[in-house]
Symmetry: C2
Subunit: 158 residues, 2 copies
DNA sequence: CACAATTAAATTGTACGCAAGTGAATTTTG
DNA sequence: CAAAATTCACTTGCGTACAATTTAATTGTG
């Protein structure tokens, strides 16, 4: 509510357009990223969301499903079947926690661990495809981070 | 290719972390946008991709399926069932073009047309939720545009 | 200790997103 | 003009996303 009289509170047409353009730009760029990654990830038999799960595991080691979900902002309805596929591919193990049997601990198999090196090279290619300087990438990433934080807190009164 | 020796060209471990990844920032922000829009769109019975189709039609009038796909970067495998749902909701019509019977022309029904005003007001809330200045929004939009262009042209040697 | 409330994961149902394939209409070529 | 190539939309199959429900385990409370 940062505006003036709130009377008819006309938001300039321009702002509406921009906001729509921005949300579409984010939407379309996300798809473009997925498509750019696809030929590379196809070679190792991963989808893009599966790759994100692997990133989390490479970085943080074994984790319960819930924590993976918090990292990626995904719920168990998405993760459960996805993790089952990664398990069938032989890249991860899923073991029920003995201390708390509600939890399932996800960890890398040797093959899953080994894939890290393979992929490492691959990530470089995408960075170059993006065709941005490191500084631009960092700037954009930080802006998106803030934007996402704001949207998350929006509530919006459903 | 703006780097030093390209020899082993080690990417620092730091840059590989999830939070440092631009691709993840885009991916997660896209989901955040969809979630922010959801409570609003629920009231009028639209999904976010359906809203994007309506935006195109409000802006450009009746269009063949192919053109809608070009605008939104979606193929007919996605659009065909989506458009069928919009038709069942009574918001659009689909009529096979008499001049070229391969094409299906999509147009708004009176109800679909009327929804434009309804939504327009409501959408203002999202712009404010984003919590960015106009300048930041424009900057981000332009950066994402360029990024998307680069990724699209990547090819990547599938 | 029993019993309600909470939590974690999985399941169900709906809707994208996209690759691959089908079928009908149009355009290109020989 | 007929055969081949192309185009457009639709369909099929797989893998996300996510709301809502279910099941099992743990925690909180009396």
């Amino acid at each position: 509510m940062r505006a003036q009289t709130t009377k008819t509170m006309e938001i300039p047409q321009e702002e509406k357009r921009l906001e729509k353009q921005l949300c579409f730009a984010v939407y379309a760029t996300a798809h473009a990223f997925t498509r750019a990654y696809k030929p590379i990830l196809d070679r190792v038999g991963l989808t893009y969301p599966q790759y994100l799960v692997m990133l989390v595991l490479w970085e943080r080691g074994e984790l319960p499903v819930k924590t993976i979900g918090e990292q990626l902002d995904l719920d168990s309805g998405t993760l459960s079947p996805l993790l089952k596929r990664l398990e069938q591919s032989g890249l991860i193990k899923r073991i029920r926690d003995l201390r708390d049997e509600r939890q399932v601990i996800v960890s890398l198999t040797p093959r899953g661990e080994a894939m890290k090196g393979e992929i490492d090279t691959i990530m470089t290619a995408i960075g170059q495809a993006a065709g941005c300087t490191l500084q631009e990438m960092a700037e954009m990433r930080d802006m998106l981070h803030r934007l996402r934080g704001n949207l998350g807190r929006a509530g919006m009164g459903g």
